[in-house]
């Protein structure tokens, strides 16, 4: 599997470390609701198909990326820098 890093170009996935589901949002720290924290820490949609996920280019530019990848075929349909809305193509 190869991942397109917006800074470094297309690199083997072994240069990256996996950061898990990118659709999960943590509640703010002052939120005391157990259901929202339970969902954020433990529950995962775990789709068989398109999965939006974090990858860290640990052996490259060290950027965090958000990758859309099919969990059955491993085909990557979109990659962008985490924290930005700019599409970087696939």
């Amino acid at each position: 599997m190869r991942i397109h890093c917006p800074h470094c170009g297309t690199r083997d996935h072994t240069e990256f470390s996996y950061g898990g589901d990118a659709t999960v949002t943590r509640p703010p720290l002052e939120d005391g609701d157990i259901d929202r924290w339970h969902a954020a820490v433990f529950l995962r949609p775990n789709p068989k198909g398109i999965h939006r996920e974090y990858w860290h280019h640990a052996l490259g530019c060290r950027s965090w990326l958000i990758v859309e990848r099919d969990t059955l075929t491993h085909r990557i349909s979109a990659t962008r820098l985490a924290g930005s809305d700019e599409g970087a193509g696939s």
């Binding site: 996935h13 339970h38 995962r44 775990n46 789709p47 999965h51 969990t71």
Partner: protein, 418 residues
Amino acid sequence: MKRYSGISVLREALRGNAGWTRAWRDPDPKPHYDVIVVGSGHGLATAYYLAKEHGIRNVAVLEKGWLGGGNIGRNTTIIRSNYMIDGNTRFYELSLKLWEGLSHDLNFNAMVSHRGIINLAHNQAQVNALVRRGNIMRLNGIDAEIIDREEVRRRAPVLDFSSEARFPIVGGLWQGRAGTVRHDAVAWGFARAASALGVDIVQNCEVVGFLKDDAGRIVGVETTRGPIRAGKVALAVAGHSGHLAAKAGLTLPIETHILQAFVSEPLKPLLDCVVTYGAGHFYISQTDKGGMLFGGDLDGFNSYGQRGALSVAEDVATMGKALMPSLSRVRIVRQWAGVMDMSMDGSPIICKGPLDGLYLNCGWCYGGFKATPASGYTFAWTIARDEPHEVSARFTLDRFRRGEAIDEKGAGPTPGLH
């Protein structure tokens, strides 16, 4: 069902083996069952114990592919009960005890081999950790023995005991009752015995949705072979638990990951016990056919693809060579991957609900094979009695919400790290 025995083998040998019959029936699904079990790994064991222990025989096991094609045929065949966290210890010991009598119980030779397992230690801290684990096991009535370097060498001389070993072997924890089982025979044995008790095993029947009544209770499943109604629906679908639960509107504390395994060309007897490496995630045994059977880490990211990346194959081979240098000249002839239901604490879930009419058996991570009999036994109990068996009572779905995770490794809620 014709009983298998030494006499039947002799009789058939004299008659040209023409008298053997099919081991299990291949029925079309009926429109209604008391219990539907989805998945034919732990599901077969569940159906068998439902029929045998609880007299519930109007049961269907639905398998989306062929019997034995899921994780029950994709593992490294190891059985053991060297766990130390409350909730796990007694459960896996029950499983090992069920393995001990399984072939006689099923009248099918599952080739249960108590060849023993060595967990290796490569430094004093690891010895201390294994002593602690061994003591906890013994206090729970499970066999465990600390062995020193010379005893490890005596039991497994093929490991690297040279002065060049990158991680010298200091000692290990020995569990003599652990071992291996012929995995396909487990599926076949449970299928034959369950079928004989009246269980319908329906292959090529994929569940694509759930039938609910007006009150929201699950009353059956929609399948590729039509709708089938049932009093109770039980899921035991390993890596596809999250996928199927989503069709019922549930989100589980599970991520699906892939785990690879490898088998070499057949060799003459080289290693007669199971060995786990202490300096990396690597485990190895030799099959009865002679192949060296080994595996290592998960590929490391969510996947339902039943294959694996070469990078992990290389990693596993490297660890294998560091532990057992002679492996470097052995050819790998087969590689495969199974999809694992990695739970948030590394421990399974066996429970009723949370939807009415639905029962869950999932979260086995990559330790599901050894659990097959106890998983089936306790899940059948839960389905039949609507209450947990005492040995599996801690494997609840809501333990995460209540802060009662059973985290054997202490890795926290990152499924890929368990």
